[in-house]
């Protein structure tokens, strides 16, 4: 921690065309003003763990970053707002209402902080910064994170980038705040790929779409001429695997985000579905339908496929453990849909779900500690988590219909689809929305999307 403040360093976070197709920027650490540079004490800065922050969210003040006029002023305000929204939505922070701020905050930068004013409103952490328009499209965003009680700088970083990149800078800063105060990686500089739904249910248009994790920067990736379903991110590349009904041949395709190029994955006679990339990014695990059900295959992106199950039942929705050693999937081989775990070569199949109802769509947490799933009972659907051995099952959210959990890259938050029932025979009242929830079951929130939405998949942290 102290090294960051004491030794200026430069790192490039986005050296080529970024994962969002944005222009490169650079980040450099900035030292604390000498007045407050007390490294030995900064080391002692209290990091509050996530469990404590759930019950007692961290009070944090995020005044507008000070601009040097014009567009820079606006960006300074907008960055503070995006950070505020990110931290508030996590449920682990309590951004203080700017109306409570005391004294001058508009020009707050490192050397002007009056900590008494922030202590007075019980801010535990404070974010300050400035935005300097440097001519043309170039902008320098400087931010500092302060521990208010001792008046110490926890972090100082400057980013040089283009104006259009301001939103991403706000997400990166949000992640830095999360990590410095909670001691683990954030998930704000991420995106969600999902299916945008529109039109009547019997002629539903389903398009591939992508947005930032906060619902901004929405972009439709397919035109709706064919059904698109279940997109999933590549672990490192700008690539998605999804199911496409193009040409009336439902198959798994890859979609290249930079070029828009789509390619059928493998050459299977049956329908292929439920793709997920292997953790090494070199292959996709997915299912192929047969006359009697569906089998699970590991399909190499370089070509070639290997069948891993052959139960004569419906085996679908496979997902690797983060270390690549195991695969969880759902199968009705025992009668009803249940969750099974097997080795990455298909050996040693073992049932892990034994609760009431049918279990589906298992997904392994990036932390490796949990498997999230959909559970179906006669009257309701639920999203839950269990340990990989099937123990410790907990239901997080239950409703008329929900399915398809996906983990944030830090394993702390789950997003899923929730649908409401149609209230009449014309389908009125039906809706499909994305919902996020903390893995403890608290802080459930709907995600705002331009159309109905389903099938979310959370990206890894952007690089």
């Amino acid at each position: 921690m102290t090294k960051d403040a004491a030794i200026p360093m430069t790192c490039y976070f986005d050296t080529k065309i970024g994962r969002r197709g944005l222009v490169a920027g650079s980040a450099s650490m900035i030292a604390a003003p000498t007045l407050w540079a007390r490294p030995a004490q900064a080391q002692a800065t209290a990091v509050i763990d996530v469990d404590k922050a759930r019950t007692d969210p961290i009070p944090i003040a995020i005044p507008a970053l000070a601009g040097n006029g014009g567009e820079a002023d606006r960006i300074g305000r907008d960055i503070a707002m995006v950070i505020t929204n990110n931290l508030a939505r996590s449920g682990l922070f309590r951004p203080i209402d700017p109306a409570a701020y005391i004294g001058k905050t508009g020009g707050t930068t490192g050397d002007l902080v009056n900590f008494q004013n922030w202590k007075a409103i019980n801010a535990q952490a404070l974010v300050t910064g400035k935005v300097d328009s440097q001519g043309g499209d170039k902008v320098r965003v400087e931010f500092r994170l302060w521990d208010v009680l001792p008046g110490q700088q926890i972090q100082g970083t400057a980013y040089t980038t283009t104006l259009s990149n301001w939103r991403r800078i706000a997400h990166i800063i949000s992640d830095v705040i999360y990590e410095r105060l909670l001691g683990e990686k954030g998930y704000f500089d991420t995106r969600i790929v999902y299916i945008a739904g529109s039109g009547p249910r019997d002629r539903r248009v389903k398009r591939l779409a992508i947005m930032d994790q906060d619902g901004e920067n929405n972009r439709f990736l397919t035109d709706g001429g064919f059904l698109a379903l279940t997109p999933r991110f590549h672990p490192t590349r700008d690539q998605i695997a999804f199911m496409s009904y193009v040409n009336d041949r439902p198959r798994v395709y890859t979609f290249d985000l930079a070029s828009g190029k789509q390619a059928m994955l493998g050459n299977f006679p049956g329908i292929t579905l439920s793709p997920r990339f292997a953790p090494d990014g070199n292959s996709v695990i997915m299912a192929q339908t047969t006359s009697s059900g569906a089998d699970i295959y590991l399909v190499s992106l370089a070509g070639g496929a290997r069948r891993l199950t052959d139960s004569g039942a419906i085996d679908v929705s496979p997902c690797f453990s983060p270390d690549g050693s195991q695969i969880v999937f759902n199968s009705d081989r025992g009668g009803d849909q249940q969750l099974y775990v097997m080795g990455s070569d298909g050996s040693g199949v073992k049932r892990i779900s034994f609760g009431r109802g049918r279990y589906a769509t298992p997904v392994w947490s990036p932390r490796g500690d949990l498997i999230a799933f959909t559970r179906q009972t006669p009257d309701a659907f639920a999203i839950g988590v269990m340990r990989p051995d099937g123990s410790g099952e907990r239901i997080l959210s239950e409703s008329f219909f929900c399915e398809g959990p996906t983990f944030a890259p830090n394993g702390r938050v789950i997003m899923f689809t929730r649908e409401t029932a149609a209230r009449d025979a014309r389908g009125n009242g039906f809706s499909s929305r994305l919902v996020s929830i903390d893995i403890t079951g608290f802080n459930e929130r709907a995600i705002t999307t331009p159309t109905d939405a389903s099938d979310p998949a959370w990206s890894p942290l952007l690089q």
Binding site: P200, R201, D202, R204, K206, L227, L229, T230, M243, D248, P250, G270, I271, L273, S274, A287, T289, T290, S291, S292, G293, A294, I314, V316, S317, N330, D332, D336, Q337, A360, T361, T374, Q376, F400, F401, E403, G404, E419, A421, A422, R423, D424, A425, R426, G427, F430, S454, D455
Partner: protein, 160 residues
């Protein structure tokens, strides 16, 4: 076990064939003015039956409720396809909304395959039948109740 079931299917088929012979086709003159063109999709829907139904989470053709007439419908489809040899068909399997989407796609595929296999057993060339599954994405009934769900658990045959 399997041969027994096939035997039962064959018996049903014979009955169906008999009954269709006993009921002569309506006079062609009437068909010229009104009603669907014989051999068309509309003819299949109106005079044969284009769909069969399945019980909840099942892909077996034998069932109760709406599924009770499945064999009769498929026998009529087989006879119709024997008559209209130029027609190729697609069988689309569907599921109700009370299931997860990936599983439902596989279930729909299994339902379509069950219908196809029956028609093939009745003598329709396998090359004339393609199958597809829409899972729960192409419901015919838009409500959220058993009345709608029972209609949406189906396999629909259409001329291609």
């Amino acid at each position: 076990m399997n041969t027994k079931i096939l035997g039962a299917f064959a018996a049903v088929a014979l009955l169906a064939a008999c009954s269709s012979q006993e009921t002569p086709k309506p006079a062609p003159q009437a068909a010229m003015n009104k009603g669907p063109v014989p051999g068309s999709q509309e003819d299949l829907v109106a005079n044969v039956g284009d769909r069969v139904f399945y019980e909840f989470n099942k892909a077996a053709l034998k069932g109760a409720g709406r599924a009770a007439n499945n064999m009769t419908t498929l026998d009529k489809q087989a006879a119709w396809l024997a008559q209209w040899k130029m027609n190729n068909v697609q069988i689309a399997g569907n599921a109700d909304e009370r299931g997860t989407s990936e599983y439902n796609i596989a279930l729909g595929a299994k339902r379509a395959a069950a219908s196809r296999d029956y028609l093939v057993a009745k003598g329709v060339a396998a090359t004339r039948i393609s199958t597809i599954s829409y899972g729960k994405d192409r419901p015919v009934a838009l409500g959220s109740n058993e009345e709608a769900w029972s209609q949406n658990r189906n396999a629909i045959t259409s001329v291609r």
